[in-house]
């Protein structure tokens, strides 16, 4: 119940800030456009270039989303109010993670057709597979991202620090997402790179498990 309440609160804050959501979507679309122009007009390996572009756009848009949700809490004092409710810290974390996941999933749904059109890749038969890869990748991103974002709260130049710490931590997840998306778009199957599903699943579970132990401490430290 607490999880859903926190998720709804965060999503409502994003919905009220339509200008930010529009900027986030435009930013990610611009990234896809710039990279498709850089790789094109004749693509050597469109599936590879498109999958790398898609996930690069998601990463940068995600950093913007994570820092924005922190700023919103900081400005309104929502973070302190949440702590005063006495709710279980891990439930708060899961609520925020779910909200961040849904925000990123929204960006993904917006960017996927753009990347498919610009790079001329993908077909509807592999769409469920691509969505599965996206779910694995974005759950991990939201789990680790929410953890690091909470840690970076109150620090100077937190956007920079978030990129410096978050991006290298997510590399196994990122390589897996790019490789699996590429395999689906190029060969229609993930048979040759199936191991990456395990790597991504382990990264997801590890992020969520670490937060279970550390989120309360992070909250206390960054109060």
């Amino acid at each position: 119940m607490t999880v859903l309440a926190v998720t709804m609160k965060d999503l409502r804050l994003h919905a009220r800030d339509a200008r930010f959501v529009a900027t986030l979507l435009l930013f990610s679309a611009s990234l896809v456009l710039i990279l498709s122009v850089a790789f094109g007009p004749i693509f050597r390996d469109p599936a590879r270039e498109a999958s790398a572009t898609l996930w690069a756009a998601l990463f940068f848009a995600g950093v913007l989303g994570l820092t924005r949700s922190l700023d919103l809490e900081g400005e309104s004092g929502g973070g302190d109010a949440l702590r005063l409710t006495g709710a279980d810290p891990y439930s708060l974390y899961l609520g925020k993670t779910l909200a961040n996941f849904l925000l990123l999933a929204g960006v993904f749904v917006f960017v996927l057709p753009i990347a498919s059109i610009f790079f001329d890749v993908g077909d509807l038969r592999v769409l469920p597979g691509v969505l599965g890869v996206a779910a694995l990748g974005l759950i991990g991103y939201a789990a680790w991202g929410t953890l690091f974002a909470a840690l970076a709260r109150g620090l100077k130049a937190r956007e920079l620090l978030l990129s410096v710490l978050l991006f290298p931590s997510l590399v196994p997840l990122w390589i897996g997402a790019v490789k699996l998306t590429h395999a689906l778009w190029a060969d229609g199957t993930v048979d040759l790179v199936r191991d990456w599903i395990k790597v991504m699943a382990v990264a997801d579970v590890l992020g969520l498990a670490l937060a279970a132990f550390l989120y309360e401490l992070i909250q206390e430290a960054t109060e």
């Binding site: 953890l147 690091f148 840690l151 970076a152 109150g154 620090l155 100077k156 130049a157 620090l161 410096v164 710490l165 290298p168 931590s169 590399v171 196994p172 191991d195 790597v199 590890l206 670490l210 550390l214 401490l217 992070i218 206390e220 430290a221 960054t222 109060e223």
Partner: protein, 235 residues
């Protein structure tokens, strides 16, 4: 109030520095005079006697950062955080040595300074992450510095097994899996390993002493700041 630094601490530090100097000189002598030159790679192979011990010390240092971070969160004693931070600094020094000696060796062995193979890539990521640890630590001025650093020390440790296992997990790794040596080469490697280990212990003791002095100075400042208030209250 923190106790003052015991005299034996400085004595132990000096003894370790002396031993480190002797062992490092002996190791240098063994590398240049005792260990034979490898037939295929020639003199470049001798980089291994620096590269392997510094890589081992990197893992040990970051492992100590992890242990110190857990101990700090469990006990809230500043000494554990000092151990974590000091060990992490030294780990960065060793990791930088690895990052410099690796490409020198790779240029001769693989005909390239750098290749995006799993061990190299994961180690570079590790280097960036622990550099980030220091950036974060230095950018926090509040009382939460130690807790935030400790949490980071635990979270970043997750990458160590990834570096270690990368050559097993990912196909196409060029990096040697094991260093198997015999005779003079093995003796030289073991001597180098011992020399770097003692150097690490000596540097860690000195770095911890600095933290101790800093903590004492902080305590004195705080006591000095409290004293006039107490005096006024008493008057």
């Amino acid at each position: 109030m923190n106790p003052t630094i015991p005299a034996w601490w400085r004595g132990a530090g000096r003894a370790l520095w002396a031993l480190a100097a002797i062992l490092l000189a002996a190791s240098l002598g063994a590398i240049t005079r005792y260990a034979p030159t490898e037939v295929q790679m020639g003199i470049v192979q001798k980089i291994v006697y620096v590269h392997v011990p510094s890589a081992t010390m990197t893992l040990l240092a970051f492992g100590l950062t992890f242990a110190g971070s857990i101990a700090y969160l469990a006990t809230k004693q500043w000494a554990w955080d000092a151990l974590a931070a000091a060990s992490c600094e030294l780990g960065m020094v060793f990791a930088t040595v690895v990052m410099v000696t690796g490409p020198l060796w790779a240029r001769s062995a693989w005909n390239t300074w750098w290749t995006w193979e799993p061990r190299l890539t994961t180690f570079l990521i590790l280097w960036i992450l622990y550099a980030g640890y220091h950036v974060v630590r230095s950018s926090i001025r509040s009382s939460s510095k130690r807790t935030v650093s400790s949490i980071l020390g635990i979270v970043l440790f997750v990458n160590l097994p990834v570096v270690w296992m990368s050559i097993q997990w990912w196909r196409g790794s060029l990096h040697p899996r094991n260093v198997t040596m015999t005779g003079e080469m093995r003796t030289t490697l073991l001597l180098s390993m011992a020399a770097w280990m003692v150097f690490f212990a000596a540097a860690l003791l000195t770095r911890l002493r600095l933290e101790w002095i800093r903590e004492e100075a902080l305590e004195r400042d705080l006591a000095g700041a409290r004293a006039p208030e107490t005096g006024r209250a008493g008057a």
